[in-house]
Amino acid sequence: MKFLCIACDTVMDFAERQIPGDGTLAAVFECGSCNREVAMLTNPMETQLVSSMGVKIGGREVPAQPMELARTSMEGGSENVFDPTDEPVQDQAVHPLRVTWTSEAVGRLDNVPTFVRGMVKRIYTDWAQQNGVNEMNPQIMDRARTELGLEGM
């Protein structure tokens, strides 16, 4: 999918994605020559059609997580499938930084269904490691959530 600014004959660049939470999506593309912006608006069915491929328009802020599509798309996923006591194993070769979770931060994860809890914890931990943060607390979680666009997580 490409957006072409006809006046400039220039391919527009992806600029922003907004997910209002009603199943719709807005993806903004900008012409690098004339700065004109267009927003592609999709209805819930069109949004679902794209997300059912396991892809995100404009690319990902967070790498695809293991079985992300199944975990986020399934209705009635079992709360008991993923062992909540399991710590996601950290790959020391890739992420040398050890991230400690405060009890308050761990408490916040209690609000996340266990079906996706391990995946969400991994996303926060990866973000912390990439940003040189060695302690995960509620404030850091808020910052990460904003940067990663993880509303509701």
């Binding site: 072409l4 004959d9 293991p66 992300e68 199944a70 062992d83 950290q90 790959d91």
Partner: protein, 297 residues
Amino acid sequence: MRKIRTYQEVSHTTESELLEQVVEQQERLADRLSQVKRLIAIASGKGGVGKSAITANLAVSLAKKGFKIGATDADLNGPSLGRMLNVSGARLRDSADGVEPAMSPDGVSVMSMELLQNEADAPLKWREPSLGGFIWQSSLETGVLREFLGDVVWGDLDALLIDVPPGTDKIKRLLELLPSLDLMLLVTTPSETTRFVVAKSIRLAQEAMIENIGLVENMESHVCPSCGHASRLFGTGQDLDEDSEETLSLWGRIPFDPRLGAYTDQGKSLISTEPDSATAAALEDLVERVSKYIKGG
């Protein structure tokens, strides 16, 4: 009319990055399965021919012979391998590399949609929107199957067995995900209707140029437990070899035995529980043939 450049004429990376993400998914899948020596699909095209029971019995018997075996349900809507391989209710673990599969008591690594569902008897449902589900559902289910194959930490298996649901479209979807499938075992029965449907699957597999296609004729006869007399269950009276293409080979002929289904439903292998039965012997022959294939024979 003004000329607008076409997609192909625009030499620019796709700013939506959709294509790049799809390519990345395929690379991730290929990377994961590069550790698996043999990818084996057990399919038919027709339902009710015993694919899952054969898959489960093959998996257990191969594992008991010392092979490192994985098994997955490509059937998301009617999963049965969880029960048949005794991993119902098992908990999964997240690891840095993916999701660890459940381990059966016989040492088979298992992934099945059943493991993810809250209620075993609940139909599989996807989140909203329900409108236009027929448009996106197929894509979503193929994506979830891709995750079963590519996001599960299968490790260095000797063989990964994939139980393919009925419908030639499901075979086609699997082949799109796994163009490097090593072996497809097509399960048929002597029923004319079944053969009619399986013929379509054979053609599909041949068109996909799968190197090894084997036929397994299930329920080929019924052996009387009292006198040992074998009689046909279906009316064709025609040997499968006469119908088969030269490029196909018959990998197994398995007599009907009600205990096969009964034991398999309980998570038990017929070969282990009734080793002297004709059906167990036929299954053992199939296991031997697959063993040789895995070893490279």
